[in-house]
């Protein structure tokens, strides 16, 4: 391929990135660092301290949801990878199908299930048990996150596990490792790329999620995503909204950087 064709092919992508990625980022940064009159100002940044609780809660919820996703998805992905090839296709489809349904619809469905007079409580009462208060709890919010994001954990884990050569597990056994040691010293390190990409793909949207907390938390567990939405939708304070977005972005970047470091560090474990 000569240079001319190469340029012709890459040009549209370059344009796309400039218009839809670089420019919006620049606009966010601009809003975050200016006041209503358009003058440079750090006011929006200092105002962030008002939201310390919300930020902390978002990170905490995101962390819990990510861990729950990992714990649920890891064995599931392993089971998937051990079944016949034809079964695997079906199982992966079953994981993906809910993702094709609208996110808002799925969250509404959980509401209907969890409500005090919802399906779960209806069922509990019909078999003579006392109803549970499920909706508007932090548990419900985290459940909503796990439910929505678990496929993003399953798929990368499943992909690395199908590529895992069973010989390594046999080699570990051969050298005297029991089931737990195989899991800890062979499985986990060899599936680490899947773990890292799964954690990234769940943690990032969990931390910045909105709507789930509004519908399942009854407004009691405002998350950082909700605050951002509020600034744009109801408070019309684009500057503050942009500065929170910027903070979130920086925070996520830092998290990813740390995680990637963690991923590399183990590679050449020290003697």
């Amino acid at each position: 391929m000569n240079n001319r064709t190469y340029n012709a092919i890459t040009a549209p992508y370059g344009l796309w990135m400039a218009v839809f990625i670089v420019a919006p980022l620049a606009i966010v940064a601009y809003y975050a660092l200016t006041d209503a009159a358009g003058h440079f100002s750090l006011e929006n940044i200092t105002q962030l301290s008002l939201y310390t609780d919300t930020i902390f809660r978002s990170v905490w919820f995101g962390l819990v949801a990510t861990i729950l996703c990992l714990v649920t998805a890891y064995p599931l992905a392993y089971i998937f990878s051990k079944t016949k090839a034809s079964t695997q296709t079906v199982l992966v489809m079953l994981i993906m199908i809910p993702m094709w349904m609208n996110f808002i619809l799925r969250t509404y469905a959980i509401m209907v299930l969890f409500e005090d007079t919802g399906i779960i409580n209806h069922f509990l009462q019909s078999i003579g048990l006392s109803p549970l208060h499920l909706i508007n709890t932090s548990g419900a919010v985290i459940f909503g996150m796990v439910y929505n994001y678990v496929p993003f954990m399953v798929l990368p884990l499943y992909t690395t596990m199908t590529k895992l050569d069973y010989k390594y597990i046999e080699a570990g056994r051969d050298l005297g490792a029991n089931g737990f040691q195989i899991f800890k010293d062979v499985m986990i390190p060899l599936t680490k790329p899947g773990i890292i990409s799964g954690v990234t793909m769940v943690f990032v949207p969990s931390v910045s999620t909105f709507y789930i907390s509004q519908k399942l938390g009854g407004g009691r567990y405002t998350l950082i995503g909700d605050v951002i939405e509020m600034q744009f939708q109801t408070a019309y304070n684009y500057h503050l909204g942009a500065s929170i977005s910027l903070l979130l972005m920086v925070f996520i970047l830092v998290c990813l950087a740390v995680m990637n470091r963690f991923g590399d560090a183990e590679e050449g474990m020290v003697v």
Binding site: D165, E170, D174, L175, G176, L190, G268
Partner: protein, 385 residues
């Protein structure tokens, strides 16, 4: 070599999806022996090794180590270690950590581990490679790390599953010598699986020839070469001309229309037998002096000798000779009595030993195909577990 039996396989049967892999296998392995299980792909040799290692349970039969039945004992509790076909070195660990893996599981102290790893690296001639990553090693170096890793945990028996298959010829020869040296120095039992007959002959104390899930012949390399048990063994180990013959009496056999003196006894009168004559044991002479005469149909120069195909009474013989003869020439052949080996008829009779369709290329093609089936075998086993 000590005389006590360390591993016994008793009446082992294995089948996958109704297909018999091992059929009533019985085997004793002595302490300190270098035993090679030799056979074509799909003969059940890898399965035999996996049963000893504990990666697979036989459908029936007993696996006995030192008079103790080991059926049901998982691999990590058996005092045997395996060197895998493609080494299976852990890619996330460096050379040091790979070798230390088994030692850490034994909860050894760090300084003891360090000493052991160092000793092992010296044994396989890889001093100073501790911090290298597995990816940065050549095939031969990875092979050495795999040997070091398996030997570090002091196994009583080392199982080697075609360990040299991925190396080029020159390196393979070097490693053969080295493996044999290591085995002799450490005095532990090696059970070595290969489809390479030359490898088996040059390294082993004892060779077990397998085909179709059954043992065809157990013996020293000299035994299986000089006195093959049946047509399969004769053909698989080296080159053989295998002819139909009739025993006229003790030490007298008729084949190819001529009566020969031989040294084999104990057959029934006029019993049909298979007669094996190795290509290098045939002497060429003038047609009028020959016991048999034939026309040369092809001549191939092989370096050490010429390989000629001779049509004698419609049977194509392979003869290896250092004297050049031209294609189309008529020659006579002489065979000494002790160079004729008589075998009982078996299910393999008539299948092997005629060079009428002989070609190096065909040999090569059919081998490669069989390798694929071998890989399939392994995946099947994986699903099983």
């Amino acid at each position: 070599m000590k005389e006590n039996v360390i591993i016994t396989l008793k009446d082992i049967c294995v089948a996958f999806d109704g297909e018999t892999i091992l059929n009533n296998l019985n085997l004793d392995i002595k302490d300190g022996e270098f035993v090679t299980i030799l056979g074509p792909s799909g003969c059940g040799k890898t399965t035999t090794l996996r049963i000893i290692a504990g990666f697979q349970e036989p459908d029936s039969g007993e696996v006995i180590f030192d008079n103790q039945v080991m059926n049901g004992v998982p691999a990590h509790k058996r005092r045997v270690n395996t060197i895998f076909q493609r080494y299976a070195l852990f890619p996330h660990l460096n050379v040091y950590e790979n070798i230390a893996f088994g030692l850490r599981l034994k909860k050894m102290k760090e300084d003891a581990i360090q000493a052991k790893v160092k000793e092992m690296l010296a044994l396989v001639d890889l001093r100073g490679f501790e911090r290298r990553s597995i990816d940065s090693l050549s095939g031969g170096q990875q092979q050495r790390v795999a040997i070091a890793r398996a030997l570090a945990v002091d196994p009583e028996v080392l199982l080697l599953d075609e360990p040299l298959g991925a190396l080029d010829l020159k390196l393979r020869k070097d490693m053969q010598v080295e493996l044999k040296n290591i085995q002799q120095r450490l005095g532990i039992t090696f059970i070595y699986v290969t489809h390479d007959q030359e490898e088996a002959l040059s390294m082993s104390d004892k060779v077990i020839v397998m085909d179709g899930g059954e043992i065809q012949h157990i013996g020293t390399p000299e035994d299986i070469y000089n006195e093959p048990a049946n047509a399969f063994v004769a053909d698989f180990i080296g080159e053989s001309n295998i002819l139909d013959g009739i025993m006229l009496s003790d030490c007298r056999v008729r084949f190819s229309g001529h009566d020969f003196d031989c040294v084999d006894k104990g057959f029934a009168l006029n019993e049909p037998v298979d007669v094996v004559v190795r290509p290098e044991d045939v002497d060429i002479c003038a047609p009028e002096d020959g016991m048999l005469t034939g026309v040369i149909t092809s001549v191939t120069f092989k370096g050490l000798h010429y390989e000629i195909i001779v049509d004698i009474n419609d049977f194509k013989w392979m003869i290896q000779t250092t004297d050049y003869s031209a294609e189309g020439e008529t020659i006579g052949i002489l065979i000494k009595p002790d160079e004729i080996h008589i075998m009982k008829k078996s299910k393999y009779s008539g299948e092997f030993g005629d060079y009428s369709s002989f070609s190096d290329e065909m040999d090569y093609i059919s081998n490669a195909e069989l390798d694929i089936t071998d890989l399939d075998d392994i995946t099947e086993v994986d699903e099983d577990e």
